[in-house]
Symmetry: C2
Subunit: 137 residues, 2 copies
Amino acid sequence: MLTIGELSRQTGVKIPTIRYYEQMGLMDAAERSEGNQRRYTREEQDRLSFIRHARDLGLTIEAIRKLIDLSAHPERPCADADRIASEQLQAVRAKIEKLKRLESELERIATHCHGDQVKDCYVIRALANHELCEHEH
Amino acid sequence: MLTIGELSRQTGVKIPTIRYYEQMGLMDAAERSEGNQRRYTREEQDRLSFIRHARDLGLTIEAIRKLIDLSAHPERPCADADRIASEQLQAVRAKIEKLKRLESELERIATHCHGDQVKDCYVIRALANHELCEHEH
DNA sequence: CTTGTAGCTCTAGTTGCTAGAGGTGTTACG
DNA sequence: CGTAACACCTCTAGCAACTAGAGCTACAAG
Ligand SMILES: [Zn+2]
Ligand SMILES: [Zn+2]
Ligand SMILES: [Zn+2]
Ligand SMILES: [Zn+2]
């Protein structure tokens, strides 16, 4: 049995975050010591690692909750899990596209100022005038 | 003079958001009608467009506040404005890099499942085991 | 048996809005 | 001039996913 501090060190998840995941129903309410402190099993450590990995990949708490529910039913079809993964892939790709458009505008904005007073500053002018932009955003 | 609704339509910024910007000190407290309703000038519309454009480019409220303060002093050097723009560019590039790493992991995860039961699902296995990943994240 | 570290609960703060309740102002039409 | 429809007002609370702090209790080492 691990204390919450040991679990935190093992998984790299901060202590308040572990308690938050319990509150959100991602982690089951842990067993307690005589003195009301949480004690974790190896399986609970695995689950927390799963959660952390999914969070690192950008999945929402809600999506992770669904995946955990699915894992509890190994005989069911996995289409839902597969869909969650591809939706996340789509979402990440959409974000990348949007950020790339921002990158190109910001590169122009951040590299074209040759004035040294605010009244001549290209940054300020570019922000005031979207006409200078190449794309919508 | 524009009402808040007209200003909203002109700039594409929602009414509660305009009031929020006033609360955050990005917009000055607007002049009021007899009956206590906000009335805006053309300059205030320009400022709101500036704010919206900066937000669309991902700048934080805090950064925008600094840019507005700078604009009020046209004789000062613009180095601070230039720095804000390049920091934002750096931040956007860092996000893109991170998301690209996620994209490659997620592509693998989302396209490798050929089972149809949860117990054989590659998505679930991949999330449980970061060893299967190519990069850190 | 004391001391220091680790744990507990509960509340509030972060960012940038957005929604709703409950009330008032403004305007156009008849 | 009255009234209906619509726009606007303030204030509070909610979202996501934590994070920080106050004030308290448990546990392990010496
Ligand atoms: Zn400049
Ligand atoms: Zn633009
Ligand atoms: Zn699958
Ligand atoms: Zn991984």
